[in-house]
């Protein structure tokens, strides 16, 4: 074997010899390539025509069964296939054309991207200095100062203009629409509910009475994003503790607890309740709250317990809020404290 360590660099700077393709040397091969390119283009044209046919004659809600795929929308499928074919075949034809029939002999081009010569750089600097001198920017400080003030201040109106993007936060993040005596409605049915309607072990989503009217009036879903709660009925023996402050009447009513449904992490609605352990898991980031123990965080990125709503029943036996939330619901914010 031989290895030549010396004198190879010239040789390594040379491009490898060009090897001709079939279509370069064989006229029939070139003809064949030409036919293939043409057929690919014609295939595309046909697909475009078919696209229009399917557009006109396929109903937008027609279902079609595709072996291996199941049922799918016929219009979407046929339009996708024909459009895809029409475009893909144009691409395939052009690439095939380039690869078989256009040159594949590599060309060498100089890069010529060195930095400018010193003379050129000096000349530029000279030109720049001439401009600076001419403007008198160094000699006329009053103009410079006033210009800086004008340009600086001109930006301010643009920022001030954005002021009306939204109201100032004020205290609204600290309150919800829950008020003392407000009926608790089952979210799904919008019906009032009695303690005995709930079985031990169940959890239902709930909302304050009158929320629809509030949302209608405000024209948005803001009220629901804060006031959504859930009712959980447990065997009273299984409740380790709730958030009732010492000396106050219990916030829990006959084993029924009411917690905010909005995660204290970043505000997703809570959703995965494990009956046996009374754990409530947030499907977004898996913050897990123990509803039988003050709604405390037992795992995950949430830092604060779920706020509990104090509940009782009215004279007809329907569940009501005894007071509003005593702390902000949902994600933390800077001013929360």
């Amino acid at each position: 074997m031989t290895i030549e360590p010396h004198g190879t660099s010239d040789q390594l700077d040379q491009l490898p010899e060009h090897k001709p393709r079939r279509s370069d040397v064989d006229v029939r091969a070139a003809k064949r390539a030409e036919r293939q390119v043409g057929l690919l283009f014609l295939g595309s044209a046909l697909a475009s025509v078919l696209f229009i046919v399917f557009y006109v004659f396929t109903s937008v809600d027609e279902e079609i069964r595709l072996p291996g795929f199941g049922y799918t929308n016929a219009s979407n499928l046929l339009l996708g296939l024909t459009m895809g074919a029409a475009l893909f075949l144009i691409g395939a034809a052009a690439i095939h054309w380039a690869k078989k029939l256009m040159t594949d002999t590599e060309i060498v081009e100089e890069r010529s991207l060195e930095a400018s010569s010193d003379e050129a750089k000096d000349a530029l600097l000279e030109e720049f200095r001439r401009g600076v001198d001419d403007s008198g920017i160094k000699r006329r400080p009053f103009i410079v100062g006033s210009m800086a003030a004008a340009l600086g201040l001109a930006g301010l109106p643009a920022i001030v203009l954005l002021r009306d993007l939204g109201p100032l936060p004020g205290n609204v993040l600290r309150t919800t629409m829950w008020e003392p005596g407000m009926h608790i409605l089952v979210a799904e049915t919008h019906q009032k509910i009695k303690p005995e309607d709930l079985e031990v072990g169940t959890l239902v989503s709930a909302i304050p009475e009158g929320i629809d009217e509030v949302m209608e009036e405000e024209g948005n879903l803001n009220a629901l994003a804060k006031a959504a709660v859930m009712l959980i009925k447990m065997d009273p023996d299984e409740i380790v503790a709730d958030q009732t402050p010492p000396g106050e009447e219990s916030w829990t009513y006959e084993g029924i607890l009411c917690f905010s449904k909005i995660c204290t992490h970043v505000g997703c609605a809570l959703g995965l309740y494990e009956q046996l352990t009374h754990h409530m898991l947030c499907p977004c980031h898996q913050s897990t709250f123990d509803l039988s123990d003050k709604g405390n965080v037992i795992f995950g990125p949430a830092a604060r317990s779920l706020p509990q709503l104090a509940i009782t029943v009215d004279e007809d036996g329907y569940l009501i809020a005894r007071q509003g939330f005593t702390e902000p619901v949902g994600p933390s914010f800077w001013e929360r404290g």
Partner: protein, 558 residues
């Protein structure tokens, strides 16, 4: 007045242009411009073409989409949602999906193209990183690229959020929760962005303008500069026989590259259209409209937001209460604001850090093979493993339900792995690079193993080694141009005076050793000489043995 050839050829339009721009010389040069060929150079093209597809399909969608949060009652073709209250944005997305011919196809093309757009940018970025294509003079294009990636993530998230379905609304809720975590101004930012409390009724129209005008406008401008720089600075190319720093080797723009690149655009568009026809993506009708007290299990963002989602899920629940007056939500602020900020800043700065470590001002047009820059390659795979862990954690609930593993156990595993795995990957990658360097060195010294086993008359077997080709040698020898580590600076000069900037120079030298201190030495001429000599000796011995035995065979009577 004589007639030019182009006039004879009927190039009236061109003559019209040239009379005004005097462009014959310039255009002639550009038509013959050389483009080097390699499959990995097509990754950026996929990103570019996906963007064009996004502009086209997005324009189509905008003809019907109503960016409005006004509540309507749906009465359309999709029966399961008939009579349901929803925003106009969601209802019009249903209309596009079910009542407009080709609407679903365009929606799905738009979504697939968006997924490809970010994926192609990401893989393109990896290619540029691992081959050192960002080095001087291309640092500007690297920074533009990092900007484009950031904007692509933002643009993707904005588009995903517009239909106002349950999944996207949940995503917006998370985004708003993240805004709230910003110290001092967070609450104000959230109120200004959403026009008050979440979700309000201003956000979708505002987001629409961001999605269809502001961000795509900036992306388009940046792509234009990105392409102009590639064109003007000429493309990099891989080390190979005949490739030098002074030249660029490839095929002419017209017609070859034009046909290939133009054709590739149609291929990408065609594949996207086929996907849109065959594979369902983001079926918003199954999620239902956004309602703040509802959620679905397995809530997932699109793939490219997964790493941020994972960071949020991985973070322990640290929150600091300051003087009972303020709340600092480190559990949200760090993973969702500080971490991405750090990552993108480091990415943008990386070329400058590496260049400082080399201490050399040379431009680079020949790409590095990853093995030849072990520290860079190891930093790359280390970062990639960090990203992949975050991304996997973003789907920890899916991993848990698919493999029946406790989701808390996965989270704990990830919390530890995020610190342990990347350093291991760093060390392993470096070792693998050195292994490959040794193999290259071996090939230079002893040739490659031909696979031909021969038997000597004595019964001894040996494998015949063959010299590697010039093509292969040119690729291996490219490593000789890698930078050498800078010498450690002397603290005092010969007069006993402390050097200026001694500590900075020392840091630079240390960084340089970190990057270039360890390399498998290229074979010296003496070593190659010795290897050749050894090989020649072996060959001579074998030949001698063969001729001896031949001589024996020829004289049987002895």
């Amino acid at each position: 007045m004589t007639t030019s050839k182009i006039e004879q050829a009927g190039g009236a339009t061109y003559v019209w242009v040239d009379d005004r721009l005097k462009s014959a010389k310039y255009i002639k040069k550009q038509l013959g411009k050389v483009f080097p060929e390699h499959w990995s150079f097509m990754l950026g093209e996929i990103a570019l073409y996906s963007f064009i597809i996004l502009l086209l399909s997005g324009t189509f969608l905008s003809l019907w989409f109503k960016p409005s949060m006004i509540e309507v009652v749906y009465e359309g073709s999709y029966l399961p949602l008939n009579g349901v209250h929803m925003s106009e944005a969601y209802a019009s997305t249903l209309d596009i999906s079910f009542d407009i011919r080709g609407g679903l196809l365009m929606r799905q093309i738009h979504h697939w193209a968006a997924l490809f757009f970010v994926a192609a940018i990401s893989v393109h970025l990896l290619r540029v990183f691992f081959t050192g294509a960002y080095r001087k003079p291309r640092e500007t294009n690297w920074i533009i690229g990092v900007g484009l990636l950031t904007l692509a993530l933002l643009e993707g998230f904005a588009g995903y959020s517009l239909p106002d379905d349950l999944l996207s609304g949940t995503g917006l809720r998370i985004a708003q929760g993240i805004m709230l975590s910003i110290p001092v101004v967070g609450t104000y930012v959230s109120f200004f962005v959403f026009g008050g409390e979440f979700p309000g009724d201003d956000f979708i129209p505002r987001l629409y303008t961001v999605h269809v005008l502001l961000v795509p406008g900036i992306i388009l401008a940046l792509i234009t500069v990105h392409m102009m720089l590639v064109w003007y600075q000429k493309h990099t190319q891989y080390p190979a026989k005949g490739h030098t720093e002074r030249t660029v080797v490839g095929l002419p723009f017209f017609p070859v590259y034009m046909a290939k690149a133009g054709g590739f655009f149609f291929v990408v568009f065609g594949v996207t259209a086929l996907l849109g026809g065959l594979f369902q993506i983001n079926p918003i009708w199954l999620y239902g409209p956004y309602v703040p007290d509802q959620i679905t299990a397995g809530s997932q963002p699109d793939w490219y937001i997964g790493w941020l989602e994972g960071a949020l899920r991985m973070m322990p629940n640290w929150e600091i209460n300051i003087a009972n007056h303020w709340t600092l939500s480190i559990n949200v602020l760090f993973p969702a604001v500080i971490l991405p900020g750090l990552i993108f800043t480091l990415m943008a700065l990386y070329p400058f850090i590496e260049r400082w470590a080399t201490g050399n001002p040379n431009p680079h047009h020949i790409l590095d093979r990853p093995r030849n820059a072990p520290t860079r390659t190891a930093l790359g795979t280390m970062s990639l493993s960090f990203y992949i862990l975050l991304w996997a954690q973003g789907g920890n609930d899916l991993i848990a339900s698919t493999f029946d593993i406790n989701v808390f156990a996965i989270t704990w595993f990830m919390r530890i792995a995020i610190f342990v795995v990347p350093p291991i990957v760093f060390v392993l990658t470096k070792r693998i690079c050195f292994g490959l360097q040794r193999r290259d060195r071996d090939k230079l010294l002893h040739g490659y193993e031909s696979g031909v086993i021969k038997r000597l008359p004595s019964g001894k077997y040996y494998e015949q080694h063959e010299p590697i080709s010039d093509e292969a040698r040119a690729i291996i020898l490219a490593r000789a141009t890698m930078p050498q580590p800078l010498p450690m600076p002397e603290k005092y000069d010969e007069n006993g005076v402390r050097q200026r900037n001694y500590l900075i120079k020392k840091l630079q030298a240390k960084l340089s050793h970190f990057f270039y201190g360890e390399q498998i030495p290229m074979p010296t001429p003496a070593e190659i000489e010795a290897a050749m000599h050894h090989e020649a000796e072996l060959t001579a011995e074998r030949n001698e043995e063969i001729s001896e035995s031949q001589a024996k065979a020829l004289s049987p009577h002895e």
